[in-house]
């Protein structure tokens, strides 16, 4: 048994969120530079140069890449031999979110969905907790902006739609997202499980480092084919035309029911921000 104070988790959530808002992952920057070197769109070069320059400014100034510092999505993978002490884990995570956003001049965008009254501290987080073997705690955070989140979609396909049906739905979703989602995009796709399982898989894929290989040969092929089809759409950086509509497509699967084929597509803008730490 390993004791971990919940306040410790809150502190990491706070630090990781602030860093995530200001530091574009290196792998994303590399993918943007690669795109800049090959892009043929009329405005694509300008747009990609601006995005890369802005990311450098953010690193130097320790200020957010984008004014939409998002809603805090937190994944906690908790070892089953961990014992949390010192209070409520969820409250500690939310306290971390509060401190991150109120003490670092980050935008507070979270509000009641019906009254539209802002919580003024960007809490609560969307928290996903899973129990794993061992005694470690892996904390992953993603400040998720809503320009792209709004363009995400989920569909319960009939099994007869098959892999072609999945591909058509993903491509259609990206096409509908168009310029609004701030391409070049990273696209998380969750296939299978139930409705909510597919959605969580898609979100979790967005936290996958771009260099980590796909889960299987089959998903690797799917990722490659989807990326080709999406980049053939010609939407391009910021929707102004070009070869780079997506930097990556990341697919995860889970077994599903004989009667179903849930597919979730979670769209991530070029500010593909996430950070993690393992305790």
């Amino acid at each position: 048994m390993r004791n971990i104070a919940v306040s410790e988790i809150g502190k990491y959530v706070e630090t990781l969120l602030v860093e995530a808002c200001c530091e574009l992952p290196k792998r994303v920057e590399e993918a943007l530079i690669k795109a800049l070197n090959t892009e043929r769109g009329e405005h694509a070069q300008d747009v990609l140069e601006q995005i890369i320059e802005n990311a450098h400014l953010a690193w130097e100034m320790k200020r957010p890449i984008c004014q939409d510092t998002g809603m805090a999505v937190v994944f906690l993978e908790v070892g089953q031999d961990v014992h949390f002490t010192g209070g409520d884990l969820t409250a500690a995570v939310n306290d971390g979110v509060r401190r991150a956003y109120t003490q670092n001049y980050l935008r507070r965008s979270v509000l009641d969905p019906l009254t539209r009254q802002n919580t003024h501290d960007n809490a609560p987080a969307v928290l996903h907790v899973s129990i794993e073997p061992g005694a470690r705690v892996r904390i992953r955070v993603a400040p998720k902006g809503f320009g792209c989140e709004n363009t995400s979609a989920l569909k319960m396909l009939p099994p007869s739609a098959g892999i072609e049906g999945i591909k058509d739905f993903v491509v259609e979703t990206v096409k509908n997202a168009g310029s609004n989602a701030c391409p070049p995009l990273v696209i998380g796709v969750g296939i299978g499980g139930t409705m909510e399982k597919a959605a969580i898989l898609a979100k979790r894929e967005l936290l996958r480092p771009l260099t980590r290989p796909a889960e299987s040969e089959q998903t690797e092929k799917l990722e490659r084919e989807l990326l080709e089809r999406i980049n053939a759409l010609g939407i391009g950086p910021m929707g102004l035309g070009g070869d780079t509509t997506a930097l990556a497509v990341l697919v995860a699967t889970h077994p599903t029911h004989i009667a179903g084929l849930p597919v979730a597509v979670n769209i991530q803008c070029h500010a593909a921000r996430h950070k993690e730490w393992t305790l």
């Binding site: 070069q45 601006q50 802005n54 957010p64 004014q67 980050l106 935008r107 507070r108 965008s109 609004n180």
Partner: protein
Amino acid sequence: MNEQKPPIRLNVPFDKEAPKKLRAGERVLLSGEIYTARDAAHKRITESLRQGGRPPFPLQDACIYYTGPCPAAPGEIIGPCGPTTSGRMDAYTPQLLARGLTGMIGKGKRSQAVKHEIKQRGAVYFAITGGVALLVAQHVLKCELVAFKDLGPEAVYKLTVNELPVIVAVDAAGKDVYER
């Protein structure tokens, strides 16, 4: 890389005829005064106009920038302030165009109704790169609160900008850079 025309320098508030000469796809450097407004501010302004109220800033020949900045950190004129998705303002925009609004800056496509009004009134819609919020902030020389302080990031600010780099997305002839 493609050969590009040098950007056009333009002042806001606009000279009457200036927006009509712009063509979709042209690069423009905007200097002068623009007003921030996004979802909640649009809702309040248009509701007030319907009840015979006055807008919080003169709409005639004005330019609105769709943004909700981060709070300014010590030493900053304005916090990071990139554009938000313009399409969410489509429901309100025709009312503002009817009152003299001439320019809009944001990101993403506009509705047919908005494009129709832009054409009718000789207005212009500019696109600015999304998610480059710190770069945009470097072009802001001055930021003054104008209205709706309670809306926080959605309050209306008057920004004095210098050579803000934008692209003509919908021109006064109704041509749209997103339609290819």
